[in-house]
């Protein structure tokens, strides 16, 4: 079951027009485009640029600058594991390794069947209950091998 609509111009333009009256509308637009289509595809860039009277380069530059925006949809499930210092102090690196071994792809990649994307994140603000992760939009504190197994099981990986 796809979680997002296939990209189309008319929905993109509707999103742009919902935000166009705001000051500095580009980021809110890109967020909503990604929420709707699962990514900000190349094809959306000229459409947004034209509607906002910006150059393609300005919109493209913005999309590529921010870690949040993807040019292709992620896997069905996204597992973000925090790799910042407080989580390092609680052993996040061995959990990342475990996850990589278990799903067979490196951090930053998606399994070939498109089920799971494993990503690094640098701090979720849960540094006193580390290690931390976000799975399918859900926050997880005190991550350990057991919880990791349960999550990946849920993802069918």
């Amino acid at each position: 079951m796809p979680r997002h609509d296939a990209w189309n111009e008319s929905e993109t333009l509707a999103i742009v027009s919902r935000h166009a009256h705001r000051e500095g509308p580009l980021l809110p637009i890109l967020h909503e485009v990604q929420e709707t289509f699962g990514c900000v595809p190349e094809a959306a860039v000229p459409v947004i640029a034209q509607a906002l009277n910006l150059s393609r380069a300005e919109v493209h530059g913005c999309v590529t600058f921010y870690h949040d925006f993807r040019d292709a949809p992620a896997g069905h499930y996204v597992l973000k594991v925090c790799r910042a210092e407080a989580c390092q102090a609680m052993g996040c690196e061995s959990l990342v390794k475990k996850a990589e071994d278990r799903i067979g792809v490196a951090c930053g990649e998606t399994t070939p069947d498109g089920r799971v994307t494993l990503e690094a994140v640098y701090c979720l603000g849960l540094c006193a209950t580390a290690p931390s992760a976000m799975f399918d939009g859900r926050l997880i504190g005190r991550l350990d091998v057991e919880k990791l197994e349960a999550i990946l099981g849920e993802a069918g990986a």
Binding site: E23, G24, P25, L26, L27, P28, L30, H31, E58, G61, C62, F65, Y66, H67, D68, F69, A84, E85, A86, C87, Q88, A89, M90, V121, Y122, C123, L124, G125, L126, C127, A128, T129, A130, S132, M134, G137, L139, I140, G141, R142
Partner: protein, 523 residues
């Protein structure tokens, strides 16, 4: 009589299962036909005890934690048999919340309400002293408000420690058709979560602080630039903003006065550098977050080129107390030029991690060992990093350093946003130094060469050192690179990356395969 049960909505509590606990509590209480009201409060800040459930009894709150959904059965069973909260027998009972030593030792000025009230209830906020600061501000001239902030000694809590009152004065004095208040809620530093906790646990205090700032400098629009990793904070802020608007605390006429103030939350998009104030402004304008050269200062030419106050969440959230209780009441706390309190965050490998608000002056050792109880692993502490990814690593020898801007600077460190990350003796400090370069390389905005190229060279060189290749030569190269980055970078991402690197190298040379250079007497 309805019994009030408090189960936090704070993201850290939720990450540890608070939503499931709340659901189970509601279900079992209904089945047992006991009359309860479940309040989703902020966190009390004792995060090692989350989910921390509180049961109110005759106006007093008793704590239980950490509570798993399975523990709820026992609590509800006892309550349904008429047990008083104080008498519930379980190994999770912690007694009166406010008597728990970690809580009792604090001086909560900014966090006075956090964990106590329903975060999105305006009535609750007002019943606990909320909006008294604004009422005082409305009775003053703008310059009178700014004088109070100056007299309080408040310095920016985002890291640089710049006097808040002086920043406000500059924006006040600037002439323009439009001015802005921007709240920096990007909180990207590892080991920090105080902004998140106050936004989730008492969002009105930030809204009130920003409103006061707007009135003081004549700004009618405010933005909270919130990192996208904080969806729970976004929800709480938006609920609170709606409530404040509906009650006339925001809008065209704030509390019926001649002042207008509109407020909006904007989400970042996962760029650490967007916490830097000028990068943040670029991002708010809808551009790549490239750091701007200063001058001009944001106070003169900020958002959309207009005079702008940009302050950290905690700086703005300290203002309602200062106005309500008077500048002196705030300035009475602290040491030297660090006045008032700092919400300190204890994180990483620590037994009792959480938020600890205290007057400046407490030592690092007291914080980590007495308050925090040492490591979670039970192994000895090796190092603590203070002030986020750009902060220095301190060894135990420096645990007598008082928490104070100048004292940390004097020891080649910084307090930053007040985060302390503890590492036990298993940590490899060469690896931490490598990570500092790596992080800088990942997050660099790319505008200046020392940072963009230096971080990558630094990472490569650390790889060589860790691989045992030409150690001494490469260590000299790292020191050289750090020097170039420190003095040649446009902003503190490149400029401060040398702090973690050089402190690791200076205090833990063994991890770099280099013998200690310190004189024997210092050992």
């Amino acid at each position: 009589m309805t019994k009030r049960i408090f189960i936090p909505r704070d993201a850290a509590a939720v990450a540890c299962g608070a939503d499931d606990v709340a659901k189970r509590f509601a279900l079992l209480a209904e089945q047992a036909k006991i009359d309860v009201e479940i309040v989703r409060n902020g966190s009390r800040g004792m995060l090692w005890l989350e989910p921390l459930v509180e049961i109110e009894d005759q106006g007093k709150r008793y704590a239980f934690g950490p509570i798993a959904p399975a523990d709820v059965d026992g609590l509800v069973a006892e309550l349904s048999q008429g047990a008083a909260a104080a008498g519930i027998k379980t190994s999770k009972a912690l007694g009166l919340t406010e008597e728990i030593p970690f809580f009792k030792r604090q001086t909560r000025l900014t966090f006075a309400r956090c964990g106590i009230t329903d975060p999105v209830s305006l009535a609750d906020y007002k019943a606990h002293g909320g909006y008294e600061g604004l009422a005082k501000a409305l009775a003053l001239e703008p310059s009178g408000i700014i004088d109070e902030v100056k007299k309080s000694g408040l310095r920016g809590r985002g890291g640089a420690g710049f006097p808040t009152g002086i920043k406000w004065q500059t924006v006040h004095d600037a002439r323009a058709d439009q001015k802005y208040i921007v709240c920096n809620a990007d909180e990207g530093d590892s080991g920090t979560f105080a902004d998140r906790m106050i936004m989730e646990g008492d969002p009105f205090v930030l809204i009130e602080g920003m409103t006061i700032a707007g009135i003081a400098v004549g700004a009618t629009r405010g933005y909270i630039y919130l990192r996208s990793e904080y969806p729970h904070a976004a929800t709480a802020l938006n609920e609170a903003i709606d409530a404040a608007k509906a009650a006339g605390y925001l809008g065209q006429t704030v509390c019926g006065s001649s002042h207008a103030f509109e407020l909006e939350v904007r989400l970042g998009a996962g760029a650490y550098v967007c916490g830097e104030e000028t990068s943040l402004l670029e991002s708010l304008e809808g551009k790549r977050g490239l750091v701007r050269a200063k001058p001009p200062l944001p106070a003169h030419e900020g958002l959309f080129g207009k005079p702008t106050i940009i302050n950290n969440v905690l700086s703005l959230a300290a203002v309602p107390f200062i106005l309500a209780e008077g500048a002196q009441a705030y300035a009475d706390f602290g040491m030297g030029r660090s006045r008032g309190t700092m919400p300190i965050q204890l994180a990483g490998n620590i037994k009792q991690g959480g938020l600890f608000e205290v007057a400046f002056g407490i030592t690092l050792g007291e914080l980590v060992e007495d308050v925090g109880g040492g490591t979670a692993s039970g192994r000895p502490i090796k190092a603590v990093q203070v002030g986020g990814p750009l902060g220095a690593y301190f060894p135990q020898d420096l645990f007598d350093t008082p928490f104070d801007y100048e004292a940390f600077t004097a020891r080649d460190g910084l307090i930053g946003h007040g985060g302390i990350v503890v590492f036990d003796h298993t940590v490899d400090m060469a690896r931490q130094a490598r990570f500092a370069f790596d992080f800088c390389a990942i997050e660099s905005c790319g505008k200046c060469t020392p940072c963009r190229i230096g971080a990558i060279r630094g990472r490569e060189t650390m790889d060589k050192i860790m691989g045992g290749q030409d150690r001494d030569k490469n260590l000299d190269l790292v020191a050289d690179l750090c020097n170039t980055m420190k003095f040649g970078s446009l902003c503190a991402l490149g400029g401060f990356t040398p702090y973690p690197v050089m402190s690791a190298l200076t205090h833990f040379p063994d991890d770099f395969g280099r013998a200690r250079k310190l004189p024997a007497a210092a050992e």
